[in-house]
Symmetry: C2
Subunit: 274 residues, 2 copies
């Protein structure tokens, strides 16, 4: 079957801008700061939300937002995704229309995550239905190589200091790396790109520079990804949900260090020479 | 005139929880992680939002959220704030009722900030009306002492690695220090506590460990605070709004280092000995 591919713009914005700053020595420096711009999302001409974004991957962000909020159930239903930065809008048009239950738009949860801190509807209920694959493993050697590979990508994160990076990897190979001002935007952009490319989550690793809060764990689980790796720490709800969905979650992963919190059965430690 | 003081609970939750983790040497470690729990906010029995929070200052958070979202215009109108963690709810009851324009609850902006990433209504419009005081200054020496003082507070931030800290200071004296899973919760909790204590922003410094996005700058300006200091970087919209409202904004402030981005007229550099 031929996949229906949406007609999309590729309206990436510049990632950084240069502004003048004065440092502690009174020296004037040209300093790079991260972009941030409002992007109002319309679904079949209906205004859904305004996202504040870096703008690196606005089309994937829009699609991933609609996917993760369960406002769209299939990428095949998307006819076009049109970004217009002059008016700060992205219009997603469907082939067959969408039905959004009224209660989905009414219930609002402001979550602890960065960025896209809103969940429409009862996403929490859904996690009970998620089944992650049990027949996949991650070795410590692969993890170390992945962390090494990630280091080459996070230049902007370091340079502008106002960004979160997320990566989707198969083994130590990074398939996507997305940065955004808020890490939830970065997650959504990866979810959108996975849909566009027909990529499944079941044999993938999700890496984030950001913290593992409830919403981050829920989103990774929703994408069917069994491995979640973060450079940062985690929260109690993130941990509880990770336990419940049985995701393999590693925090504080940097250099050779990591903490394995949940789902140890999928992880293989390297033989250590004492 | 006697200030009307609301009847409030003091339902602070434990900040950290201990879970088991396995490190890169295969050693089992007891590890502290940050708390995170849902708190549904009711205003006169009307459900407003569910906040995911550390729970350190739930009453101040609820009041500050309503203040910063312009859902309440006066702390004097608050009769009581009752937190019940068993049901995960905080009920704010007013003395005289509130009128929320329907369009305020309709328009949703998902912002780039951590945590409380939603703004109801057109907060952006309001920034045009903000006038910050011009007759206040911050010296480099005071800034250095403030950064030194902040270091004593951010233990949890370091220990659990999943938190943002915010402080309100007068000179180098820290009046409040609040940590939360999302930094917007921390900002709102400070705004709420300022209301409860009748504290004005005009001679204060707002410090945050988090990034200076549009929403952070807007909130500081709304609180009437002329100085905004962050350990992290900033975004373009944060910078543009800081310029427009004329706030004095310093980023990358850590140890003796900082970058002064906007509002240099209020900052006094120390005499440097070459």
């Amino acid at each position: 079957m031929k996949r229906l591919v949406p007609d999309i713009t590729r309206a990436s914005r510049p990632l950084t801008f240069t502004v003048a700053a004065i440092n502690e020595n009174g020296e004037r420096l040209e300093t790079e700061i991260a972009g941030e711009a409002p992007l109002t999302l319309y679904l079949d001409k209906r205004e859904i939300v305004t996202l504040m974004t870096l703008g690196a991957a606005p089309e994937a962000l829009a699609i991933g937002y609609l996917r993760n909020q369960r406002l769209l159930s299939s990428v095949e239903n998307i006819a076009s995704v049109q970004v217009d930065w002059e008016v700060g809008a992205v219009a997603v048009t469907t082939r067959e229309g969408v039905k959004i239950p009224a209660k989905r738009l009414k219930k609002r949860t402001v979550t602890t995550g960065c960025g896209q801190g809103t969940m429409l509807g009862d996403l929490m209920d859904e996690i009970e239905k998620i089944r992650l694959p049990q027949d996949v493993t991650l070795t410590e050697e692969t993890l170390q190589r992945l962390l090494e590979n990630v280091r080459h990508y996070d230049s902007l994160y370091k340079k502008a200091g106002a960004l979160h990076g997320c990566a989707l990897a198969r083994g130590d190979a990074i398939l996507y790396y997305v940065e955004d001002v808020g890490r939830h935007n970065a997650v959504d952009a990866i979810a959108g790109q996975m849909w566009l490319d027909g990529v499944e989550g079941s044999d993938k690793i999700f890496y984030t520079t950001g913290r593992l809060t409830s919403e981050m764990v829920i989103k990774a689980a929703q994408m069917g990804i069994p491995f979640l790796v973060s450079r940062s720490g985690l929260t109690r709800m993130g941990w509880e949900i990770a336990n419940r969905v049985g995701i393999t979650m590693l925090g504080r992963a940097q250099g050779r260090h990591f903490l394995l919190f949940t789902g140890a059965e999928r992880f293989r430690f390297a033989e250590k020479i004492a």
